[in-house]
Every structure is written in structure tokens, then in C-alpha cells.
Amino acid sequence: MLLWTVIRRLIYSVILVVAVLVLNFLLIHLAPGDPADVIAGEMGGATEEVLASIRKAYGLDQPLYVQLWVYLKAAAGGDLGQSFFYNAPVIDLILDRVGATLLLVFTALGFAIVVGTTLGVIASRKPTGIVSNLVTVISVIGYSAPIFWTGIMLIIVFASLIPLFPISNMYDVTKSVGPFGYALDVAHHLVLPAFTLGIVYLAQYSRLTRASMLEVLGSDYIRTARAKGVSERKVYGRHALRNAVLPIITIAGLQFGGIVSGAVLVETVFNWPGLGTLAFDSILARDYPTILGILFFSAVIVIVANLITDLLYRVADPRIRMAK
């Protein structure tokens, strides 16, 4: 049953991936101006020769559906086009940067989930207590502060006032000695960007956990647990939390696109060499194939993340797991 679900979800995911490609294709053609111009970007170097070669490569002189087919076929082979700004295949540019982005995103996410749910559970024990108020304050600030602004504030603080953490880049050539030294240095550089990105989601998870816990704690089966003589610690940790995480998994999956978006800003602020800085640079250069390639690739990341949360949810909730 589970296997069949996985297969069905996989097929659906592939359809979504193709849909994103179609969207990319349409965007090129919907944008004002000659598609060849759009693909070449507004970088001055688009001579008639270059445009002609683009028209040929993309089959722009052929009917639209043929062009789409050519585009999809190329994408299936891993060819997302050529960046005229970097003068390199888009896919290579992306694969070069994606690791840094994933490292940032998952560190931030892990931090947010662990700290956020812990705070949320503590807050749910006393809905009017100090931690609960703290959760409210953190979450309101996390909601309201522009993420890049938080990052810049941290840079200002850590650049001069407390120079504890590096404020830019992913590593420092002079300090990254050996694989262990490199890892340590990357971790050191990761602190501020991951914290900046994580704090927004920490705010949301803590609030969500508190709400979810409070709802679960009012349910009949918690009363049953208490009537059995289960200790309060176990009521919270075992009986309530297992149920309260279910909506959190769902939300985490739905928000994944948002986290990737946040990463774009955080990377730009901290000069983190991931997809975000690549996107930023290619937007300055009007390098459309690269931007669209990044949009496509990050959508794929979100699709995979959704697939994983979906399966995780099935594992966590027997009601869904057993459903036909």
C-alpha cells in the first residue's frame, strides 16, 4: 500500500516538474520583446549573430509547440540552456551552488524546528507564563522584521561591536586548513546566516507548536491518559507531542518554498555562495536562462521536500498510513 502511494506521488511529482518547465517556457514567450532578446539578456553583447544562434538553438523560428517540445526534451537531458553572462551551461552553474543553499536551508530548518517546538511545548504548559509570552514576542518580531534587515542588523553588530562570527562568505581560505579545518570554518561562517534564516521559522514553529499542543491537550484522549495516572511530563512529551507534531509536519512542507525564498535574501546579505547570490547576480545581469533555471531547480527542491514530508506524515499518523 505504501509502495503504491510512493509511486503515485512520484508520478504526480514528475507531472509538477514538467508543469514548471512549461511555465518557464511560457514566461520567456510572454515577456515583452523578442524571446531571443530575452534569452540573451540585456547585456549589450547580443549581436545579430548571437541572436541568430539563439534562435536556432531554441528553434525560435518554428511553431510554438515544436519549440516547447525542443525545450522539454533538452530539459529532460539536463540541459537548462546556456548562460550568456557566465558563458556556461546553466545546469553547471546551479549544481555548483546548490550544496551551499541546501546546507544553509537545512541548518536553519533544523535549528528552527528543534528550538521552536521545544519553546512551543514549554509555552503550552503555562499559556500565560513567561515562556509563553516570550514565544508571542519572538513570533511577532519574527513575523514582522524583514529578514534581510535582521541580517544587516546582525552584520552591523558583529562587524564592529562583537566580532565573534564572520559576516560574509562561506569560508576563509587562510583559515580552512585540512578537511576538518574547512568544515569548522564553514560552520563558523554558517552561524549568522543560519540564525537569521532560522529565526523567522523558529517564530512560526514555536507559535504553531503552542497552538497545536493546546488544542491536543484539550482532547479526550489526553483526559484518558490522565485518568490512567500518566505523569504530566509523559502526558506532554509522549501523548500530546506525538499528535501535536502532525500539523507542524504539514506546515513545514508547505513552507519549504518560503524558506528557499528567504535563503535568497539571506545569501545576498551574507554573500553566501549559493543559488540565492547566483539569482541576485543574474538578475543584475538580466541573465534570464540562469534565473529561470534557478526557479526551475528550486521548484524541484520544493517538490522533493513535499514528497518527503508527505511520506513522513504517513509514518507519523497511522490514520493516513493505513488508509487505502
Partner: protein
């Protein structure tokens, strides 16, 4: 022998509209192997009585203001949280109205029964599991070994209520509190659960407190009955006494206003007896009898002073000025 004695308990709730006296000097006694029914409409305090015995009155806003609850002579009021936890699920078990939502959806039913065993007895995981399977068998669940590994959503409502009973009885408690155990179930399933409760009560000698709104259920199952209205007990006695010779006008009304199934229904339909009006708000009770505004036999004294339970020679007790006056005149 008295297993459970509720002695003059008072429970208050702080609400936005002021203090609500949810239980007002409630006295109850349950003997070994006996089934005591507590009947009344919603909000009369019957469920709160159960929660008070369990030490689960939500606080705040609730507060057990005064009184004692003796379990085999030991006063439960004033026990520490840990001591009370030792008693819950071990010496007093409880089942609830909604079997659909009373079981934790993410654990198997076997785990949920075994947890109860492991909490109160120094049992190994394996021994606790075996007890769980044995309990499932005892409550009449077929293929108990297989069913123990089921999740609640895979079982029907009746099955789930059986699982709840298995959890409540796993540690062989002295008292079982059943709060509307069949209200959410179908008629035929209700009958099965009643049979099971009676059978378990006989074989294990567990005393049962049955909380219900259904006089029929009381007639079927209980030995003695207490009728509650607005946080007070208005009448108590054996089931025969209260059902065949109800004294309190409220009890009378409660019996007569329900169309009970008759084996030989009359040809012509008679209007049902009505209790006019609605249950009063607990924050707006006056000095007199809480039932007086709805009562067809109310006297002048009824609105002035609250009646107290007056016991007749045979143990049948009623809290009603009109009944007291009648009985004195005889």
C-alpha cells in the same frame, strides 16, 4: 462494605459571570460490587462528581472548596499530585462518553492498555503486553492478539469502548467510573456494553459509578441511584424505590417526560409530561430550591430556603419541601 464515600464535597468554578457552585454538598456512598447510578441533565454536576473523585477537576477555574472523598477509608482530598496519580488508573478506573476520541490515535490499543499496567505495576514490557492481550480477551474482543496491534481508527465505536474498559480495568481497580459510557453508541452496541459491564462487575467485584442521563440505563444496570439537579442531589434510593415511587417532582418529571419503549403501546398517543423552562444558570441560583421555578408543586417555602435530603426509614431520601410536608401529614 463501603468502597467509595463522597462526603459533603463542594466544587466552585470561577466564571466571568461570578462564582458557579457546580457541586453543592454532594454525598454519595458506593459499596463493594455495587452499581450506583447518577442521573441528571447536562450541567447538573454528574460529570463533575466523577472528575472530583478522579482528582481531575480542571483548576483553575475549578476548585474543590470543601469536603472529603474516601477510598476504602483513605481521604483522597489533599493527597499530593503523585499520590493521586498512583490511585488513578490503579485503584479507580474511568471510561468516557466518546470512545471515538478517547483513545490516542497514534498508539496501538495494546500499547495503550499496556501503558496503564506498566505505570502501576512493576511489569516488564512483555508482561504488560500479555496483560493487554488478556484484557482485550476479557472484554470480549475476538482475535485479541491481532487486535492489540490495531490503531483506534481501525476499530468500531463499540470495540473502542471495550478497549477503554480494558484500560480502565487493567489494574483491577476497586471502583470504575463510567461517564455516559454508551451515549455515543448504537442501541444494540449499548446493550452489549451493558452486558459486559455487568459481567465484569460480577466476576471482579468492582464497584461501578454509572453516570447517565438515561433512566432506562439506570433501570437496567444500577442497584442504587442518585438524581442530581443544579449541583445537588435531590433524590436517592434503590432503583426500585426511585423509579417506581419517585418522590421528587424533578425525578417524576424526568421519568415521565421520556417516551420509554413499551412492550404493548396504547392505541392512542398521549402528550408527554413536560418539565417547563430550562435548567437555571449556576451563577444565578437564589436562596431557595433550584428547581422551584420549574416545579408544579412549589410552595411558598421553596423559593425561600433550600431543602435538604430527608431520609425515610427505608433509605429513600428526598430533598423537597413539598414531599417533606406530605410525608409529615401522613
Amino acid at each position: 462494605m463501603t468502597v467509595l464515600k463522597v462526603d459533603n464535597i463542594v466544587v466552585d468554578f470561577a466564571t466571568r459571570r461570578g462564582n458557579a457552585r457546580v457541586l453543592d454538598h454532594v454525598n454519595l456512598e458506593v459499596n463493594e460490587g455495587e452499581i450506583l447510578g447518577i442521573v441528571g441533565e447536562s450541567g447538573c454536576g454528574k460529570s463533575m462528581t466523577a472528575l472530583s473523585i478522579m482528582g481531575l477537576v480542571p483548576s483553575p477555574p475549578g476548585n474543590l472548596t470543601s469536603g472529603s472523598i474516601y477510598l476504602e477509608g483513605r481521604d483522597l482530598v489533599g493527597l499530593s499530585k503523585d499520590e493521586m496519580r498512583e490511585i488513578r488508573g490503579n485503584e479507580i478506573g474511568m471510561i468516557f462518553q466518546e470512545p471515538m476520541s478517547s483513545l490516542n490515535p497514534v498508539f496501538t490499543v495494546g500499547e495503550q492498555i499496556a501503558e496503564s499496567v506498566r505505570l502501576h505495576e512493576n511489569a516488564s514490557q512483555r508482561a504488560a503486553w500479555e496483560r493487554a492481550v488478556e484484557m482485550l480477551r476479557a472484554v470480549g474482543i475476538p482475535e485479541a492478539e491481532v487486535r492489540a496491534k490495531s490503531y483506534p481508527h481501525q476499530l468500531s465505536g463499540g470495540m473502542r469502548q471495550r478497549v477503554m474498559i480494558a484500560i480502565a480495568l487493567a489494574c483491577n481497580p476497586r471502583v470504575l467510573i463510567a461517564d455516559e459510557p454508551t451515549t455515543a453508541l448504537d442501541t444494540t452496541v449499548q446493550a452489549q456494553i451493558f452486558d459486559l459491564l455487568e459481567e465484569l462487575q460480577k466476576s471482579r467485584g468492582t464497584a461501578i459509578v454509572l453516570i447517565t442521563h438515561d433512566m432506562g440505563a439506570v433501570a437496567q444496570l444500577a442497584d442504587r441511584v442518585a438524581v442530581m439537579y443544579a449541583g445537588r442531589i435531590v433524590e436517592t434510593g434503590t432503583v426500585e424505590q426511585v423509579l417506581t415511587m419517585p418522590r421528587h417532582p424533578y425525578t417524576e418529571g424526568l421519568i415521565a417526560c421520556v417516551p420509554h419503549l413499551q412492550p404493548d403501546p396504547p392505541e392512542k398517543r398521549e402528550p408527554l409530561l413536560e418539565i417547563p423552562g430550562v435548567v437555571p444558570s449556576l451563577t444565578e441560583l437564589g436562596d431557595g430550591c433550584a428547581f422551584a421555578p420549574r416545579c408544579n408543586r412549589a410552595l411558598a417555602t421553596c423559593t425561600g430556603r433550600q431543602p435538604v435530603l430527608k431520609t425515610e426509614g427505608n433509605g429513600h431520601a428526598t430533598a423537597c419541601w413539598a414531599v417533606e410536608a406530605e410525608l409529615e401529614n401522613v
